[in-house]
C-alpha cells in the first residue's frame, strides 16, 4: 500500500505556483554549474593551446614514457673506500675476540664482522672462564643495532655535546661535595674499572660505590665471603661429578651466572657404562629439572628442609613420602659418590648456601680456589641505598648499567624520591626508565663498541675490544671517569697499564688476539664494603628469614629468569622476544606458572581455541600491598603443588618498541631481592592469548625421542633399546632401510663430501643457543606475536619439548602397547594427550633432516627443492612459486613459508624494517621474499666457504672446519657436524655409535641428521 505521506522540503511548496519550487524540480543543483561560462566562452577556449585531443595525447605519451622508463634497470652505485683499512677485504669476514660483561651475561666471544660491521657472535674456544655463550649472548649483536638507543648525552632531556656534559657534571659534583652520593653499578668483574672507580671515589670522597645485580646472587656471595674471604661464587665442574643433587638451583639456566652446561653435558654421555646421576628438587619446572634423571617437585619452604636433611642438618619426616624416599636415596647416592658428589642450592638464604658449601667441601666438583667473579652485588647494601633514597638520606645517585626505577621492588616510591634527588646521573645505552627521570644521562656504547677487561674467574682474564666505530655520539663509563678524574689517558691505555702486571711480560697483542689470558697474578678487585661494618656478611634474607617469609600461607612464588629474556636488559631484541621458552614453548610473554591441581582449585584454565592458539585465564598476583595485575596463567606440568613461578625481565616500557612491551613486570614482587615470595592469586576476567608454538605436549608413546635407562643400555643389546623399524615384504620382515623396501632409486654418496649432523639427546640441555645462532646466520625473519600464535613461526631450528603422560616415557610406551579395542584406545589415547603432574621431559632439536630420499623433493612442481650430492637438500628460493606442497609432504614439519614480506614492511616492524637493524644481516645468505618456502640449508654457505678455503690453499678440508651455525653455537657438544665420507671425522664416529637413530626412521626418508638415543640414569639407589 502506497504511502500518502508527503514530505516537505520548504515552505515555498505551500505556494502551488512558486517559481522556486519549479526551478528546484528542474535542476539537480540549486546553483547552476558554470560549465557554459567555461566551455561556452569561445575566446577562452581558442586562446588555450590545449585541445581535448591534445590533452589525451599528452596523457597517453607521458604514461607510455613513464612505463618505458620503468623498463630501464636502476643504476646501482658502488662506492669504494677512499683509504681502505688494511684488515678489511670486502666480502671476507674478520673475527675478533671480545668479551661480554653486561652485568648479567659474562662470556668470551668471537665477533664475526663483515665490511666493518659485527654480524654474529660465536663461542671463543680458547675460553676457560666458565662463562657461557647462551642465546642472549648470541642475540646481543642485534641489540647493538637497536633503533631506540641513545644517540647523545642528555642534560634535562636535551641533547648536548660531551664538553657541555662534562662541565655540567663537574658543576654538579662540586655542588654535591659532602653529600651522600651513591654510585650504583652493575657487576663489572673488571680489574681496570675497579681501579678506576677507586680513583674516582678518592677524588670525590662523598661518592660510595654499591654493586647491584638486577637478579641477585647475594646470599651465595655472602656465604662464600664468610667462608673463604673473597666476595665471589664457587665454581663447579660438573664433568667430574657422579652425583649431582640440586635443591632449587637451575644451574643449566642462569643460576650464579650460568654456563655450567658444557661441563654437565660431558658427564651425561654414557662412557664405559657410566654417567652422572642428576637429582633435582625444585618448585618451578626449570631446564635443570627437565634434564634431571629424577625430578622431585618441592615447594621452596620444603626445599630448605630437603637441603637440611641432605646435608645432615635436619630431617624431612614431616614431608610427603615421595620426598622422603627421594631424599633418602639421594643421600645414599651422594655418600657412595664420595668426593664426586655435589649438592647445590638456589635458595636465597645465606644459611642454606653455607650448608651447601660446607657439604661440598672436599668435592672435586667444586672449585673455591678459582671462584667466579661474575656476581658482586650486595642485596642488603642495595636495599639500604633504596631506602636511603626514599627517606632522603641519599642526595645523589649515579647509575651504571642498571635500571633501578624499573627493577626495584617498590618502584613507585623510589621513582618519586629519585626525581627529587639533588643529582641524578644515569649511564645508559637507552632512555631506560631510570634515564627517563634522571637529570643527566650519559649515552654509553654497546660492548661491541667498547674497550674493556674482565676477570670472570680468578686468574682467568679476558679483554673486550671494539669491533665497530661507535654508531652514535656515545662515551663509555670508564672514559667518562678518566675525564672526570682529570686523567687524560684513554681507557685503552689505562687497561694496558693495568694489564702490565697481569701479562707479566707476555705480549699484549697475543692476549688481545686470543681475548683470554690465564695468569696467576693477583689483581686487586674492589669490593664495596658493608657500611655498617658487619664482620659477617648478612643479607636481607639471611638466616631464617626465608622460612619466616613463607609462613603466611598462600602460594609460594619462585621468581626465575627465562632463557630468552634473562634480567630484561635486551627486552627490545626481537630475536629474544620471539624465541620460544624451552619449557613452555611460549614466546612474547611471561606468565605465572601454576600446577594443575592448584589451577583446578582456583578455576584457572588453559584452552586451545579454533585457530590453534593457546588461551589462558588472568590472575592478579598479590603480595601484601603489592598487586601485579592481569598476569596470564600457564598450567605447568611439574610445578610443585602450592607453588607458582613468574619470570623476571618482562613488562618493560621505557625505550621499548610497542610490539615488544610484553608481559608483566615481576620485579614488583622481588621484595628484599629474594626470589622466593609468598603470594595469593585472584582470578580476574578475560582470556589471555598466548603465542605458543607447541601445543601437542606428549609423544603418545610414539618413537620420536628414543629413550632408555642406563641399566638396560648397559645390559641389553642395542636391538632391544634402539631397534630398527621393520616392514613386511612378501610376508618377510625386512628393515626399513633395506633397498628392497625403498621407493627411491639409490644414489652413490661415497664420493666427495657427505654431510651429516649428529645430535646427542643426552648432551642437549635445550638451552636454545642454536636457535638464535641460526637466526643470525641465516637471516631468519621475525614475524611477531600474532603470526606465531597462528603457528607461522619462521624458526629453521626448533627444539621440541615433550612431557610424559605418566611418570616416565617408558610408561607411555607400555600404556600404548596395552591398549586394545576401541573403548580403551579412545579413553587411553585421550588420557595420553595430557602430561602427567610430574612428567619426564625430553628435548629434541629438529631442523630440516636433509633426507636422502626426501618426500618434499618429489612433490615440488617446479623442482625448486632438489638434492645435492653432498647430502644437503637444496632450496632455490628464486625458483619457488609457493605451492607449499613440500611443507605438506614433509614428515618433520620443518619447512617454513613466507606468508608475508617480512623485510621492509611496516606491518612487521622489526629489525629488518630499519636501516640500523638490517646491518645485522648476513650478506652471504639471501633475504627471502613473500610467497616462497624456506628451511634449514645445513648452512651450505658455511660448508661451501670451508671447501673454497681448502681449494685455495690446495689441501684437504680439516674435519673441524665443517660447521653449521647450530653446531658451532652448541656449547655442550650435543651437535656435531661433519663429513661422513671422511672416516677420521668425529661425525663418522658418532654415526657408528650404537645409540644412533634417525627421526621417524620407519618413513624411509634416510635423513642426514641423526640422533643419539637418550639414556637416563634411573638407578634409584
Amino acid at each position: 500500500m502506497a504511502s500518502n505521506k508527503k514530505y516537505w522540503k520548504s515552505v515555498e511548496e505551500l505556494n502551488e505556483n512558486s517559481s522556486i519550487v519549479e526551478t528546484l524540480q528542474q535542476n539537480e543543483f540549486v546553483e547552476s554549474i558554470p560549465t557554459d561560462e567555461f566551455l561556452g566562452d569561445k575566446e577562452t577556449l581558442e586562446a588555450s593551446s590545449t585541445t581535448r585531443r591534445d590533452f589525451l595525447k599528452y596523457v597517453g605519451f607521458t604514461t607510455a614514457a613513464a612505463s618505458l622508463a620503468a623498463c630501464e634497470g636502476p643504476v646501482i652505485k658502488s662506492i669504494p673506500y677512499v683509504v681502505a683499512p688494511d684488515e678489511i677485504v670486502p666480502g671476507v669476514a674478520n673475527f675478533y675476540a671480545s668479551t661480554i660483561a653486561d652485568g648479567f651475561d659474562f662470556a668470551n666471544v668471537l665477533v664475526k664482522t663483515r665490511e666493518g660491521r659485527p654480524i654474529k657472535i660465536e663461542r671463543n674456544d680458547l675460553s676457560t672462564s666458565g662463562g657461557d655463550v647462551n642465546a642472549r649472548v648470541h642475540a646481543s649483536v642485534l641489540t647493538l643495532y637497536d633503533n631506540n638507543r641513545l644517540t647523545a648525552p642528555l642534560v634535562d632531556g636535551a641533547e648536548v655535546s660531551w664538553a657541555e656534559f662534562d662541565t655540567k657534571v663537574a658543576q654538579k659534583m662540586n655542588e654535591m661535595t659532602g653529600k651522600d652520593v651513591v654510585l650504583l653499578t652493575q657487576t663489572f668483574a673488571s680489574p681496570s674499572t675497579s681501579k678506576l672507580i677507586k680513583e674516582f671515589t678518592a677524588k670525590y670522597p662523598n661518592v660510595r660505590h654499591v654493586v647491584y645485580d638486577t637478579v641477585s646472587s647475594s646470599e651465595a656471595l655472602d656465604a662464600f665471603q664468610n667462608k673463604y674471604g673473597t666476595r665471589a661464587l664457587a665454581d663447579y665442574d660438573f664433568s667430574k661429578a657422579e652425583v649431582i643433587v640440586s635443591v632449587g638451583a637451575d644451574f643449566l639456566g642462569d643460576w650464579q651466572g650460568g654456563g655450567f652446561d658444557s661441563g654437565y653435558a660431558k658427564s651425561r654421555i654414557p662412557n664405559n657404562g657410566k654417567m652422572s646421576r642428576h637429582i633435582q628438587f625444585e618448585a618451578n619446572m626449570s631446564l635443570s629439572g627437565a634434564n634431571a634423571d629424577k625430578r622431585v617437585p618441592v615447594k621452596p619452604s620444603e626445599q630448605l628442609k630437603v637441603l637440611k636433611a641432605l646435608t645432615g642438618n635436619g630431617s624431612v619426616s614431616d614431608l610427603s613420602e615421595a620426598i622422603q624416599t627421594a631424599v633418602a636415596n639421594a643421600k645414599t647416592q651422594l655418600k657412595r659418590a664420595g668426593n664426586k658428589g655435589v649438592v647445590i642450592t638456589g635458595l636465597p638464604d645465606v644459611a642454606a648456601q653455607t650448608m651447601a658449601l660446607e657439604c661440598n667441601e672436599g668435592s672435586v666438583v667444586m672449585d673455591t680456589d678459582k671462584p667466579r667473579m661474575m656476581r658482586q652485588g650486595n642485596a642488603a647494601e642495595v636495599l639500604r641505598v633504596m631506602n636511603g633514597v626514599i627517606s632522603g638520606a641519599v642526595k645523589g645517585m649515579i647509575t651504571v648499567g642498571v635500571d633501578p626505577v624499573y627493577s626495584f621492588p617498590n618502584s613507585a616510591a623510589f621513582t618519586e624520591a629519585y626525581k627529587k634527588l639533588e643529582m641524578s646521573l644515569a649511564f645508559s645505552m637507552k632512555l631506560s626508565a631510570t634515564a627517563e627521570v634522571s637529570q643527566l644521562v650519559a649515552a654509553t656504547p654497546h660492548y661491541l663498541e667498547s674497550w674493556g677487561d674482565a676477570q670472570l674467574k680468578k686468574g682467568n682474564f679476558s679483554l673486550m675490544q671494539p669491533t665497530i666505530r661507535p654508531l652514535f655520539n656515545t662515551r663509555q663509563f670508564q672514559d667518562c671517569l678518566l675525564q672526570w678524574t682529570g686523567n687524560s689517558t684513554k681507557y685503552y691505555d689505562y687497561i694496558k697499564d693495568t694489564w702490565a702486571s697481569v701479562l707479566g711480560g707476555s705480549s699484549w697483542n697475543n692476549a688481545l688476539e686470543a681475548g683470554v689470558f690465564a695468569s696467576t697474578s693477583e689483581v686487586e678487585m674492589e669490593v664495596a664494603p658493608s657500611t655498617e661494618g658487619h664482620e659477617e656478611m648478612e643479607s636481607s634474607t639471611g638466616h631464617g628469614a626465608l622460612s619466616a617469609a613463607l609462613q603466611n600461607g598462600g602460594l609460594e612464588l619462585t621468581l626465575y629468569t627465562k632463557t630468552a629474556m634473562g634480567d630484561g636488559q635486551q627486552a627490545n631484541n626481537p630475536w629474544l622476544q620471539e624465541m620460544p621458552d624451552p619449557i613452555s614453548r611460549a614466546s612474547w610473554d611471561n606468565y605465572i606458572t601454576v600446577s594443575k591441581a592448584d589451577a583446578e582449585a582456583m578455576g584457572l584454565e588453559n584452552s586451545h581455541v579454533a585457530n590453534g592458539g593457546l588461551n589462558g585465564s588472568y590472575v592478579n598476583v598479590k603480595m601484601g600491598d603489592v598487586v601485579v595485575e592481569k598476569v596470564p596463567v600457564l598450567i605447568q606440568p611439574g610445578q610443585a603443588k602450592g607453588s607458582v613461578g613468574l619470570a623476571l625481565g618482562y613488562g618493560k616500557t621505557a625505550a621499548i618498541q610497542e610490539e615488544m612491551q610484553t608481559g608483566v613486570n615481576a620485579y614488583a614482587l622481588y621484595n628484599n631481592f629474594s626470589e622466593v615470595q609468598n603470594v595469593t592469586l585472584e582470578k580476574v576476567a578475560g582470556e589471555h592469548e598466548f603465542a605458543c608454538v607447541q601445543l601437542h605436549n606428549t609423544m603418545m608413546g610414539r618413537d620420536i625421542i628414543r629413550e632408555t635407562s642406563l641399566e638396560i643400555f648397559n645390559t641389553k643389546d642395542a636391538s632391544v633399546w634402539n631397534p630398527m623399524p621393520m616392514v613386511s615384504k612378501d610376508h618377510q620382515e625386512i628393515p626399513v632401510t633395506s633397498p628392497d623396501a625403498d621407493l627411491w632409486e639409490s644414489f652413490d654418496r661415497s664420493v666427495g663430501h657427505h654431510f651429516n649432523l649428529s645430535i646427542d639427546l643426552n648432551a642437549c640441555t635445550g638451552c636454545g643457543a642454536c636457535v638464535i645462532a641460526c637466526h643470525a646466520e641465516n637471516n631468519v625473519p621475525v614475524v611477531g606475536k600474532d603470526e606465531i600464535r597462528k603457528s607461522r613461526d619462521m624458526h629453521w631450528l626448533r627444539i621440541d619439548r615433550y612431557y610424559s603422560s605418566v611418570e616416565s616415557f617408558e610408561g607411555d610406551v607400555e600404556k600404548k602397547e596395552n591398549i586394545s579395542g576401541l573403548g580403551s584406545s579412545l579413553s587411553d589415547f585421550t588420557a595420553m594427550e595430557h602430561p602427567s603432574d610430574n612428567p619426564q621431559v625430553a628435548f629434541q632439536p629438529v631442523m630440516c633432516q636433509h633426507c636422502n630420499h626426501a618426500p618434499c623433493e618429489t612433490v615440488c612442481p617446479v623442482a625448486a627443492t632438489s638434492h645435492g650430492r653432498q647430502g644437503q637438500n637444496h632450496m632455490a628460493y628464486n625458483r619457488c612459486v609457493g605451492t607449499r606442497y613440500c611443507a605438506n609432504n614433509c614428515p618433520y614439519k620443518v619447512r617454513r613459508f613466507n606468508w608475508f614480506l617480512y623485510n621492509e614492511n611496516d606491518e612487521f616492524d622489526y629489525h629488518m624494517n630499519n636501516d640500523l637493524g638490517r646491518m645485522v644481516l648476513n650478506p652471504d645468505v639471501v633475504v627471502r621474499s613473500r610467497g616462497v618456502m624456506e628451511k634449514c640449508s645445513m648452512c651450505i654457505q658455511k660448508t661451501q666457504l670451508s671447501i673454497l678455503k681448502a681449494k685455495r690453499d690446495g689441501r684437504p678440508v680439516k674435519d673441524s672446519e665443517f660447521q653449521t651455525a647450530c653446531s658451532s653455537a652448541c656449547g655442550t657438544g650435543a651437535m656435531v657436524f661433519g663429513d661422513i665420507n671422511d672416516h677420521s671425522s668425529e661425525v663418522f664416529e658418532e654415526k657408528k655409535n650404537n645409540r644412533m637413530y634417525h627421526l621417524l626412521e620407519s618413513v624411509g626418508t634416510e635423513p642426514n641428521v641423526f640422533y643419539h638415543t637418550k639414556v637416563r640414569n634411573s638407578n634409584e639407589v
Partner: protein, 423 residues
C-alpha cells in the same frame, strides 16, 4: 708523415740551436751524456722528481742554473749531512719541501750526476699537436674509395634495369609487328581471394605467424634484465684501455680482492694514488676523434685528486675527500652467489673470459650476459683444474673412476646443483 716533419723543421731547428746555446752557456759543468742521464734519472730520481713540475721534490729542469755542481754533488750524495752541517741553502731547500728527506745516493759518481744534470738541462719539447691532425686526415682515405665502388656498382645495376626495360619494349614491338598476342595476366586481388578461401593455407599461415611472433616476443622478454653491453657514464672517465692495455697493469694489481674474496672489489682511491701521486698528466696516445686528448685525461686525473683530497701543487693531502660513486656495471641478483676467488685463484680463469677484452675498452661495458644459462654452459664445458691441488686428489680419483673419464667437468663435480649458487 714526412711532410709533417718538414713542416716542423724550422721550429725544431731553432730549438736545437737554443739547446746548444744553453748547453754551452752552462759550461761551468763538465759535459754529461743526456741519454745515459735519462736512464739514471728514471731509475733513481723519477719516483720523487719531475722535470717540469713539482712532485715530492722540486722540478729539476735547469737545476744547474740554481745550484753549482759541487753543491749538487754533495747534496745528492748525502743531503741530510749538509742540513746537519748547517748549509744555509740546504736548510732552506729542506724547509721549502715540507721537510721531506731526500734519499741519499752515495753510489752515484760525479760523472753519473753530470749525466743526470745534462738530461735535466735538455730543453722542453714542443707539444706535437700537428701530428695527430695529419694522421686524422690520412685515415679517411679508405672510406671514400669504398663509397665510390659502391656508387659505381649501383650505377651499373641501374643501367642493367634500364636495358632490361628497353629490351622488353623492343621485344613487344617485334611481337606486335609479327602479330603474336601476349596474354594478359590475372589481377593480384583474385590471388588474395583464393588464399582467403583456402582455409588450410590460412590456418598454416596464422600458425606460422603466431609461432613467429611468439618466438620474437619470447626473445624480447628473455633479454629483459639482461644488461649485456651496459656501459654507463662513470663519474671519472677511467680508461681500462690505458691502464690494463697500454700500461699492461695486471687486473689483480688493483682488483686485488678477486683473489681472496667473493667480490673483485673496486679499488679504493689510495690504490690509485700509489701511482697517480706521481702521474699527474697523461702522456700517451690521444684519440682525438672521440675527444680524448691530453687535456681531457688530465682533467680526469684532476677529478681523482679532488676526490681523494690531494693538493697537487703543494703535494699534500687536504683531508677533504669526496668518495667516488661509480655506476656498478656487473649486477648479479641477490639470490645468486658468485665468488671471484673460486674462479680466479682456484680455477685460474682469465678475467677476460667473463669480462671480455677489458684492456681494449676505453669505456668499460658488460661483456657477458650474466644469465644463468651462460653460467651453466661454462660449467658444463669447462674441465676442473685439479693439477697440483691436493684438495681434488681424492675426489678426482673417485669421480674419474665413476664416470670413466680422465678430465672432469664442473658439472660432473656437482657444479650444476641449485644449492651451489642459490642460498
Amino acid at each position: 708523415m714526412k711532410k709533417v716533419d718538414f713542416r716542423n723543421i724550422p721550429s725544431q731547428l731553432s730549438l736545437l740551436l737554443l739547446a746548444l746555446m744553453l748547453t754551452f752557456s752552462t759550461s761551468l759543468f763538465s759535459q754529461g751524456d743526456p741519454v745515459a742521464g735519462k736512464a739514471l734519472f728514471n731509475a733513481n730520481c723519477a719516483a720523487c722528481h719531475k722535470l717540469d713540475k713539482k712532485a715530492t721534490g722540486p722540478a729539476l729542469r735547469g737545476v744547474s742554473e740554481k745550484h753549482d755542481a759541487a753543491w749538487l754533488y754533495s747534496w745528492i750524495k748525502d743531503s741530510q749531512a749538509m742540513i746537519k752541517a748547517g748549509d744555509a741553502k740546504a736548510v732552506a731547500l729542506f724547509a721549502e719541501n715540507n721537510n721531506s728527506v731526500m734519499t741519499s745516493f752515495p753510489a752515484l759518481s760525479d760523472a753519473d750526476i753530470d749525466n743526470i744534470i745534462a738530461y735535466t738541462n735538455e730543453p722542453k719539447p714542443e707539444p706535437k699537436v700537428a701530428v695527430a691532425t695529419a694522421t686524422a686526415d690520412g685515415g679517411s682515405g679508405g672510406g671514400v674509395s669504398n663509397n665510390i665502388i659502391l656508387g659505381a656498382l649501383a650505377l651499373v645495376f641501374l643501367l642493367l634495369v634500364v636495358m632490361l626495360f628497353l629490351v622488353t619494349g623492343t621485344l613487344k614491338k617485334i611481337a606486335a609487328a609479327n602479330g603474336v598476342e601476349v596474354e594478359e595476366k590475372q589481377k593480384g586481388d583474385s590471388l588474395w581471394k583464393a588464399f582467403a578461401k583456402n582455409q588450410f593455407l590460412v590456418m598454416v599461415t596464422s600458425i606460422v605467424l603466431i609461432l613467429g611472433s611468439a618466438y620474437f616476443a619470447y626473445g624480447y622478454l628473455m633479454q629483459v634484465g639482461v644488461d649485456q653491453g651496459y656501459a654507463p657514464v662513470q663519474p671519472i672517465h677511467f680508461s681500462h684501455k690505458i691502464h690494463a692495455g697500454d700500461n699492461k697493469i695486471d687486473c689483480n694489481f688493483c682488483h686485488s680482492s678477486a683473489r681472496k674474496s667473493k667480490t673483485s672489489g673496486i679499488p679504493s682511491l689510495n690504490v690509485c694514488m700509489n701511482c697517480h701521486k706521481n702521474i699527474s698528466e697523461y702522456n700517451g696516445e690521444e684519440d682525438l676523434a672521440n675527444g680524448y686528448d691530453k687535456a681531457f685525461y688530465d682533467a680526469e686525473i684532476a677529478k681523482l685528486y679532488e676526490a681523494v683530497g690531494w693538493d697537487a701543487t703543494n703535494q699534500k693531502y687536504t683531508g677533504d675527500t669526496k668518495p667516488v660513486k661509480w655506476a656498478r656495471i656487473h649486477n648479479l641478483p641477490d639470490f645468486a652467489y658468485f665468488n671471484h676467488s673460486q674462479h680466479v685463484t682456484v680455477a685460474g680463469v682469465d678475467c677476460q673470459k667473463c669480462h671480455g677484452p677489458v684492456e681494449e675498452m676505453e669505456i668499460l661495458e658488460q661483456f657477458a650476459p650474466l644469465t644463468m644459462g651462460w653460467c651453466i654452459n661454462c660449467h658444463r664445458e669447462t674441465n676442473v683444474v685439479m693439477e697440483g691441488n691436493e684438495y681434488y686428489e681424492k675426489i678426482h680419483e673417485e669421480l674419474s673412476k665413476k664416470y670413466g673419464v680422465d678430465k672432469l667437468t664442473i658439472a660432473q663435480m656437482g657444479g650444476l646443483e641449485c644449492g651451489k649458487c642459490h642460498y
